[in-house]
Amino acid sequence: MSTLIRPRLGASVVPDLTSNTGGIVTPNPFWLASAPPTNSGGQIMRAFDAGWGGAVWKTLGTPIQNVSSRFGAMNYKGTRAIGFNNIELITDRPIETNLREIYEVKKRYPKHGIIVSLMVETREEWQDLIKRAIDAGADGLELNFGCPHGMCERGMGSAVGQEPSLNERITSWAVEYSTVPVLVKLTPNVDEIGPHGLAAQAGGAHGVSLINTIKSIIGVDIERKVLEPRVGGMSTNGGYCGPAVKPIALHMIASLARDPQFKLPISGIGGVSNWRDAVEFILLGCSSVQVCTEVMLRGFRVVEDMTEGLTQYMRDNGYQNLDAMRGKAVPSYSEWGELDLNYETIAKIDPLKCIGCHNCVVACHDGAHQCIHPDPGGKTRVPVVDESECVGCNLCQIVCPVPDCITMVEVPNGLPPATWNQHVAEGAPLRAKKGVH
């Protein structure tokens, strides 16, 4: 990643990171997601000391028994755990212990946000647990309608989140019994997220948090011929998370954020690993972001760079508070049919930066449109772009190992913008196709 040096629009401004998610106010938008890092009061107090603004307590419910092992990871080219999954269930500690610790943490950290995640079955159970969580000091509740493994087999978690009417009904119970804001945690294991967000809204939720984990099999032990993570000779599907799921999370969050019927604040979850990820989530409409995997892998300390990076980004862009930046990228999310087909880019290779690896050549030849070639004179290792054939697909830029060596530059072709929809409706003229030799 190259260092971008921009003029600081508000160098004297100290951005305010205070976050408000449906009435849950935290000193910054960085929350720990309901997961192993929020299993105990001791962990959460250390997290707050490290700089986390809020924590969603590991889901309370009727205590369960967990298996070993519980986690699996997907590694790629030496990078550990670009994707992660778990088959752990909700808390396995007594409810009384959790509630006592919630009380202690809240007393010692009054300004930080403690959101208690809940998952039970009957209306009576919800009523009872909500009251006890609020009595212990919860600043908000998160209804776990998302867990895609284990609990859903017992009619909870994603079994609720996948059924809008159930979602709405249980949400309405919770809102009825709660005196603090209620967030509904949505599952991504649905074809379209819209109806599920709207169901939570109809139930009276104060906000939603998404995405929960994605139903997954993280891998197969090819020596033992058993799925991972292995529990003896068997395993089961788990919940997928970590950096690899971020694109799915971004899509679902943006889908809700751009839906004019959907009005609720969003707490974004899914592969947030650093401040850049957090900025993307906020630009797509999130009021807070929740982190689990990065903390599981590297500890609470990662929040220092998150808050610092976000602060600098806000300062560089002149945003005084999160409201000023929230949702700024949402309007750019459009239908394919509304994209300008006459917008044209081509690849340019900077010969001074090029190191001659030819990865762009093979990618273009084998994976794209055969328009990047080795230097025909053979004198240099800098490839040439056949601009008459380049479709501006970005693949070369993606494979290039050198920052800013390949740039996609706009070609002023003189044609007025024309979308597919305009072309179909009005016969708007389109530019000549390239790369169709």
Partner: protein
């Protein structure tokens, strides 16, 4: 096969470039950009598909990585250790272009090839017997590469080796901090596992066996006899004890022991890679003060810059622009060398009058080149010899049909990897010749 004595002076040397652990190898392999038409391959004389073998290491396919290496270069294990990668593959790595450290290709190659030796993976079998026979003169890298390739084609092979030990300079000449003699012999054994290679040791062509006899026995011949004795200086005092050729001295301590207890100071004459090896080895053998005496300046050395840098780190001194005039005995008449009288050379490369200095040395090694052995081949009609080198075409063919040459005796003295490439190339040319029914 010749057994080495268990107590050898070289055993005390540690690897200059230690072997990778699996974790280190994976981390480095994952850094490789997997270039297309990769410059590293273009700079490997044996054209090993380096990005491919590194990718295989990164996926845990170490056996496949070794297969890729050995398919191109059967001496890939020793080349991994002795190749000057800094000026070959790694020197061409595109990472250099972005001022990032190049991929450690030699260490990765060592990782894969060591694994192959350890697990005894076999990748090659001899081809079906063709009924043809090829004689190879010499037992060094070029000869071994040629022999292996010829066996893959199914031709019978006989190696005629003048010395008693196979592997050539890989066994007797490589600096022990790169590879020790026992490892070179492991490789000889590994290469010859393909079977069907007859080794006739202690036979010198021209003395024990005539060329005509050889040509009668075999349909083709490969001359791969390497270089000859160290060149010595014909200056006063040359008869004193303690003056040795560097190649001969290195051979002695690699295969056995040398007594350096009386040597406080040593001088190595020369500025090439053998001279640099020698000074580093003397330091490693415990000589407190080692000086390289070279006629030219530091910039004019023919030895590799990266090797000389390492020698300087070892604490070696140099006396530049110095021409030895005479060897002196330290205390009159004990018959032992005590120093080298040198004159400083001016810009015109002539001695500056009155500039003589004495470089004290109880041991003097000469690394000013080796004699060339091609002369005997000049007697053969059709074979051309220039400046002691046997003249060959791009395929290793001499002017005499069926007679090829490879390695130092043809190229004048290059790297092991060049010898491996030339030996293989000659074998391929011979196969084409024999398949076409030539030279019956």
């Amino acid at each position: 096969m010749t057994k080495l004595p268990p107590e050898r002076a070289e055993a005390g040397f540690n690897d200059y470039k230690p072997a990778y652990s699996t974790a280190q190898a994976l981390a480095e392999a994952n850094r490789c950009l997997y270039c297309v038409d990769a410059p590293c391959v273009q700079h490997c004389p044996t054209a090993i598909d380096i990005p491919e073998f590194i990718r295989k290491i990164s996926t845990g396919n170490t056996e496949g990585a070794a297969r890729t290496i050995f398919s191109a270069n059967i001496l890939g294990m020793s080349c991994a250790r002795v190749c000057p990668v800094e000026v070959l593959c790694a020197g061409a790595c595109v990472y250099n272009e972005m001022d990032a450290p190049p991929i450690e290709i030699g260490k990765l190659q060592r990782y894969a090839t060591d694994a192959a030796f350890l697990a005894d993976w076999q990748f090659f079998t001899a081809g079906p017997d063709t009924g043809k026979s090829v004689g190879i003169l010499g037992g060094g890298p070029a000869a071994l590469a040629a022999a292996h390739e010829l066996r893959r084609f199914g031709h019978a092979v006989t190696i005629y080796d003048a010395g008693g030990i196979l592997g050539g300079l890989n066994t007797t000449g490589v600096a022990p901090y790169k590879m020790r003699a026992d490892r070179a012999l492991d490789e000889v054994e590994w290469v010859l596992q393909i079977g069907g290679v007859e080794v006739v040791s202690g036979v010198e062509v021209g003395r024990d066996l005539s060329f005509a006899e050889l040509q009668q026995r075999h349909q083709a011949l490969v001359i791969a006899v390497g270089l000859g004795e160290d060149r010595m200086l014909d200056i006063p005092g040359k008869e004193l004890a303690g003056i040795h050729g560097a190649v001969a001295f290195i051979r002695e301590f690699k295969l056995g022991q040398v007594d350096l207890s009386h040597v406080r100071q040593a001088a190595v004459l020369g500025g090439g890679n053998t001279a640099i090896d020698a000074v580093r080895e003397l330091v490693g053998l415990g000589v407190p003060e080692v000086t390289m005496v070279y006629r030219g300046s530091e910039a004019q050395m023919s030895g590799y810059v990266h090797e000389w840098k390492a020698a300087k780190v070892d604490g070696v001194r140099a006396s530049w622009r110095s021409q030895p005039l005479a060897y002196h005995s330290a205390n009159g008449a004990d018959g032992k060398v005590g120093g080298v009288l040198c004159a400083r050379l001016g810009d015109d490369r002539r001695p500056i009058a009155g500039s003589e200095v004495e470089v004290p040395a109880q041991l003097v090694l000469l690394a000013i080149g080796q004699s060339r052995l091609g002369a005997f081949a000049a007697a053969l009609p059709g074979v051309q010899v220039e400046d002691g080198r046997i003249v060959v075409d791009a395929e290793g063919a001499t002017g005499r049909p069926g007679v090829y040459a490879a390695g130092d005796c043809a190229n004048g003295g290059k790297e092991v990897v060049n010898a491996a490439a030339e030996g293989k190339r000659a074998a391929q040319a011979i196969d084409r010749l024999l398949a076409a029914g030539g030279n019956q």
